[in-house]
């Protein structure tokens, strides 16, 4: 039930690479972890022996059910620390990832659950990625680009796909961030620009921006 930092980094990397059950290759994993293929093979044998992987030599690997569970808990820790660093210590979005890489390996379950509680059980990290709950479940969400949000339906910003400094500057200026509640009020077909209501303010944004902002939206609400 306890894994080394190295093992955890491999598990997490496989999780991210395999996405929705695709198979991960040795070279892809080596690249992702900035290591060599031979090292990957060694570790795969080890994780395989621990039943965290489905591994067939020469044919890549996927996480076992248990492996996925472990990955979700590592990701939970990572994203909670990211939220903490951003929300409580005031770090910028770009800075939190690197710092959380270290903190995520502190794995005491009670500590993480208390941290979660302290932060108010946030469903998304500062990048808008969902945070698994204490049972490893990820909030299923109705996630769509702001450009497709129906008119006059409240949405909550949950993800921003482009994280360039320019984009962040613009978002800041418009008071849009993860968790911001908004509604589309008008849609101008001429340039696909949108008028939004954000906290009783009317704000205009371009199509380009709207495409990069994702919102959760409850079809039954309102």
């Amino acid at each position: 039930m306890n894994y080394s930092i190295s093992e955890e980094n491999y598990i997490k990397a496989i999780y991210h690479l395999q996405g929705e059950s695709g198979t991960v290759t040795t070279n892809a994993l080596a690249e992702k972890l900035s290591t060599k293929a031979a090292s990957v093979t060694d570790m795969m044998k080890k994780l395989s022996a621990k039943k965290l992987l489905n591994y067939k030599p020469y044919y890549g690997f996927t996480l076992s059910t248990e492996g996925k569970k472990v990955a979700l808990f590592i990701i939970r820790r990572h994203r909670l620390w990211e939220f903490f660093l951003s929300q409580k210590l005031g770090f910028d979005w770009e800075e939190v990832h690197q710092l959380a890489e270290e903190l995520e390996h502190v794995s005491n379950k009670v500590l993480i659950d208390r941290l979660d509680e302290f932060l108010g059980f946030p469903p998304f990290d500062p990048h808008g990625d969902p945070i698994p709950d204490s049972k490893g479940r990820i909030a299923s969400r109705n996630n769509l680009p702001l450009s497709l949000l129906p008119k006059n339906k409240p949405g909550i910003v949950c993800q921003v796909t482009n994280q360039s400094a320019e984009m962040l500057e613009l978002l800041k200026h418009k008071s849009i961030g993860i968790g911001t509640k908004l509604e589309v009020r008008k849609h101008f077909p001429f340039d696909q620009s949108l008028e939004l209501k954000i906290k009783k303010q009317i704000v205009t944004i371009s199509e380009q921006l709207a495409k990069n902002i994702f919102v959760t939206y409850d079809e039954n609400a309102n």
Copy 2:
């Protein structure tokens, strides 16, 4: 400037063992770290090569000036995390030490400085031990047992030497904790019991309890 977890644990242990410049022996350190004397000798050679130690074979070792500096930063991280765990996440005094043992090795300086700020630059950890500041300085303090605090002089609880569950229960009941401001109002020679003023309340405590509570006190105040 960056040390492994193992190196950090040795440095910290030496710091605690050497106290005010005493020399530390191989066996004492092995005992403290639950390891073997041979392992200690190996590590001492390594730390010595890195100029963190004054080491004369067969005659023990002390931290160099640089070594002490490193130790103080490790201790700073440990105690800040202890404070965080206790104050923000609601862990008990007895629990925080073990958890902080892991967190202390996350060593990004900016992270720790921001944590310090977030916590309000606490001068003492939940056990009452002083927290080195961002330059590695420890608050010099006028530290004495509550039983010796002059009458009507405000003191601040900074350390509790007995940490038994029974003692903690009693302290909780009397609303006494690290940081609590109090004054001695009466001293009864019959049983050496004390009457204190704590937040406008009058509280009675036994001699035994008073001897285990340490306070900082500013001779010039009031």
